[in-house]
């Protein structure tokens, strides 16, 4: 798919990958050079490159330039997308180099060797991922001063860089596939959306999300039903309040007439395997509300329709 992109674009696309490689090589082989993440100093000035390329590519990244074309073309779409990718990759490389350089100031060469071990463990383990997230959150918010910078970098940066690497690769493959497609199959708007996602994948937030994707899926038990809390309506809020007196009868003797209405209410709500005991029926109704299987509005209506005493 790479053939779809001009050589100059491919060269610059690879700069981001090069940056990641520098970082990972550093983790693996220790620090031969503390300022450049275990690699020789780059033979180019990233800041200068960025400035020059920004001047060169900025016009090509403009969305209005694409829409000014009549009719829009696949080549024009690819020009905007590829120019944006270049800019993102250069910024990413610049940022990554800074992060890694900062880390050098904190660690010894032995620490760095341990970091590579942490990297391997973190990207594969759900439990570790959760630890990582906690550390990241604390680091970002600055609220937990007890977690110092050394801990933050040691525990998080390898995992984050690995997550960014994986996420960026996934999105980039999608973009490259799209650039090979016609405008009908891969619209300009979809391309711009994907480029934004590519940018996000290279951010700390994107990396945290990627790590949590793994942790989250492990978090959910296979047979667990997780309902989503939706924005409550005023009617729902009022119904929750109106039902409160009903629940005061929980775990108490239920008169037969109440038990009969509770049965009808449960039946109308579609509940299965209904209890014979009145108290158990009320507990079942309560549980339907607590677990969100039925809304308060639905339960209130069912009780009213069943002529529950008091309504």
């Amino acid at each position: 798919m790479l053939e779809a992109i001009p050589l100059w674009v491919r060269r610059h696309l690879h700069l981001g990958v090069l940056g990641l490689s520098l970082a990972l090589l550093f983790h693996t082989f220790g620090c031969a050079n503390l300022h450049y993440a275990g690699a020789p100093p780059p033979s180019y000035d990233v800041d200068q490159d960025l400035k020059q390329l920004a001047e060169h590519f900025k016009p090509a990244t403009a969305i209005e330039a694409y829409y000014a074309l009549r009719p829009p073309t696949r080549e024009a779409r690819n020009k905007v997308i590829s120019a944006r990718l270049v800019m993102i990759n250069l910024e990413y490389l610049k940022w990554l180099r800074t992060v890694i350089a900062d880390k050098q100031l904190l660690d010894t060469a032995t620490d760095v060797l341990n970091l590579s071990l942490n990297l391997a463990a973190t990207v594969t383990g759900g439990e570790t991922a959760k630890t990582v997230l906690s550390a990241v959150a604390a680091g970002i918010s600055g609220s937990k001063t007890s977690i110092d910078k050394h801990y933050f970098y040691e525990k998080t940066m390898p995992a984050l860089v690995a997550a960014m690497n994986a996420q960026r690769k996934t999105v980039l493959e999608r973009i490259l596939g799209g650039m090979n497609s016609s405008l009908e199959d891969y619209s300009f708007e979809q391309g711009i959306t994907d480029v934004y996602e590519y940018y996000q994948a290279g951010t700390l937030t994107g990396a945290i999300t990627a790590i949590q994707a793994d942790a989250g899926s492990k978090e959910k038990k296979a047979d667990e039903k997780i309902l989503t809390l939706i924005r409550p309506t005023p009617e729902e809020i009022a119904a929750v309040e109106a039902l409160k007196p009903v629940w005061k009868r929980l775990n108490k003797q239920i008169p037969p007439e109440h038990a009969e209405t509770l049965l009808r209410a449960l039946q109308s709500l579609g509940a299965k395997d209904l209890p014979t005991d009145g108290s158990d029926r009320l507990t079942r109704l309560h549980l339907l509300l607590q677990t969100g299987e039925k809304t308060a509005v639905e339960i209130l209506k069912a009780l009213k329709d069943a002529n529950y005493p008091g309504w």
Binding site: I226, T228, L229, I237, V240, Q290
Partner: protein, 97 residues
């Protein structure tokens, strides 16, 4: 203890999330903790509640960013990461005394 979990979208503001949780607590449940997770294509808060089997109502729940001043006359009982406004924030949960 009988617990149950809900997901709350990470796109909601912290104030909205707080309202959601408070309404859920009005159904005789008690907020215990929350974890950020990625489920069904979106970042959510997986929130765990204790389900009371009677009409018990916990005291008022207050969620605030950890970096903000704690509310008066309230005790912090939980602290963790939540997704709110599509970003991760460290949140503290308080209960009115």
């Amino acid at each position: 203890m009988n617990t149950f979990r809900f997901s709350v979208a990470g796109s909601f503001s912290l104030a909205d999330i707080s309202d959601h949780l408070s309404l859920q607590e009005a159904k005789n449940t008690e907020f215990l903790d929350s974890k950020v997770a990625y489920l069904n294509g979106e970042v959510v808060n997986l929130v765990t509640f204790n389900l009371y089997d009677d009409a018990t109502l916990p005291t008022e729940l207050i969620l605030k960013k950890k970096s903000e001043t704690p509310p008066p006359n309230a005790t912090q009982f939980w602290e963790g990461v939540m997704a709110a406004d599509n970003a991760l924030v460290v949140v503290a949960a308080y209960r009115a005394k």
